[in-house]
């Protein structure tokens, strides 16, 4: 049994009542944070010296069988320098709209992770630059598959699902331009730009 992560005490001292509670599961510290302060807490965890959770391992969500329990959005953080982990959970009351502020501005890797949570659970991340489905196709109209009220075989009949799938036009949503490197060229590091300029194999001696 490991001790509570030192980040938990620091968070409680900094944010007070915004830290709902903490727990330990499988040697991992878990911090429960209110929805309103979630972005502040995550930004503080990323930028504060001594915390430096600079790597966002995963974003996912949990919905429990008990209908009264809130849906929880889970952030798994990692500090690469300190070799420390922290799990932050944000409970979302299911009677209200499932909305949460995006953390795309903190970790660029949150882009597809938040899209996946949106696709599977229907959590809307406010401020996300491109919030649309990522696993299911874009015209998918049956809802959010990992919610507990979603039937295993979907809402529509098999015949209707086949009809809709065949009517889907993949090219309309995924164009080659979307995959073009040109748009993200300015974001690449200098050495990669140089390698791309010289071609994949580099200069022939």
């Amino acid at each position: 049994m490991t001790d509570v992560s030192p980040s938990v005490g620091a968070l409680t001292a900094e944010f007070g009542s915004a830290i709902l509670r903490n727990a330990i599961s499988c040697d991992h510290s878990i911090v429960y944070v209110t929805r309103e302060r979630a972005h502040d807490v995550l930004a503080w965890l990323k930028d504060t010296p001594g915390q430096e959770f600079n790597f966002l391992t995963d974003i996912t969500a949990v919905e429990y069988r008990d209908a009264e329990r809130p849906l929880e959005v889970v952030y798994q953080l990692r500090s690469l320098g300190r070799k420390a982990d922290l799990r932050v959970k944000v409970p979302l009351d299911k009677t209200e709209p499932l909305q949460l502020e995006t953390v795309y501005d903190l970790w660029k890797g949150a882009d597809w992770l938040e899209r996946e949570v949106y696709d599977m659970f229907g959590v809307t991340f406010v401020g996300h630059p491109d919030l649309r489905r990522i696993l299911m196709w874009e015209t998918y109209g049956e809802g959010y598959p990992l919610r507990k009220d979603f039937p295993l075989r979907g809402h529509f009949s098999r015949a209707e699902q086949v009809r809709q799938a065949l009517a889907a036009n993949p090219e309309a949503q995924y164009s080659l331009e979307e995959l073009a490197l040109a748009q993200s060229m300015q974001d690449l590091p200098a050495d990669m730009k140089e390698r791309l300029r010289r071609g994949e194999r580099g200069l022939v001696p």
């Binding site: 598959p145 075989r153 015949a159 086949v162 009809r163 799938a165 065949l166 889907a168 036009n169």
Partner: protein, 203 residues
């Protein structure tokens, strides 16, 4: 020797099989069945078995299939090895439409044939709801021997074809309604072949 009615070929609807046509059939079917070029559509573990079948130990080249065609334009038989999610359904249909006649398809494994254990919202319950299928190979995944038996069954089927039956090679293009059948019609067609949980496909 495929006669395409819409391509302005010879109209053969009135021709009944006779000595000439059966000799021609024998020749074309012999050539076709021994030079099938497969278009691999591998989506899951069945594709691993398909690779093993194509590799040297089992050696698909013995059946004239050593040339795996990675372009649908030069393929004869579409081998769907693995589960097919609904998201890939328009893709495999597009590939099937791009393949020129004559063409056949093999549904390899339980998932491709019936949906297998994936009786859920994301998975096509049998690729025969998307494209016509000639041979179903059971197994999870089938061993290479199983796939080769399916291939030999397909060769046997090809050897029984005749060009006097034009319906065999007529291209069926999907209209905007897709392959949608009314639920009663689906139940009627698939009654014995639904999977073990819900016995008919339309449910």
């Amino acid at each position: 020797m495929v006669v395409e009615p819409e391509a302005g070929g010879v109209e053969l609807s009135g021709v009944s099989p006779n000595w000439v046509t059966t000799r021609l059939d024998f020749l074309t079917n012999w050539a076709r069945s021994n030079s099938l070029w497969p278009m691999p559509f591998g989506t899951a573990c069945c594709a691993i078995e398909f690779m093993a079948t194509a590799a040297s130990r089992f050696d698909l080249a013995r059946f004239g299939m050593e040339r795996l065609s990675y372009s649908p334009r030069q393929a004869d038989v579409l081998i769907c090895s693995g589960r097919l999610p609904f998201k890939l359904a328009p893709v495999i249909r597009r590939i099937w439409d791009q393949m020129p006649q004559p063409k056949w398809s093999i549904s390899m494994g339980a998932c491709a044939s019936t949906g297998g254990i994936f009786d859920n919202y994301a998975m096509v319950q049998g690729i025969d709801t998307i494209i016509p299928v000639d041979v179903y190979v059971p197994g999870c995944p089938p061993r290479p021997e199983g796939l080769m038996y399916g291939i030999m069954l397909l060769q046997k089927k090809i050897k029984g074809e005749t060009f006097t039956d034009q319906d065999l090679r007529r291209e069926q293009v999907l209209d905007e309604a897709g392959m949608f059948l009314p639920p009663e019609r689906v139940d009627e067609l698939s009654e014995p072949f639904g999977n073990s949980i819900h016995q008919t496909r339309s449910g």
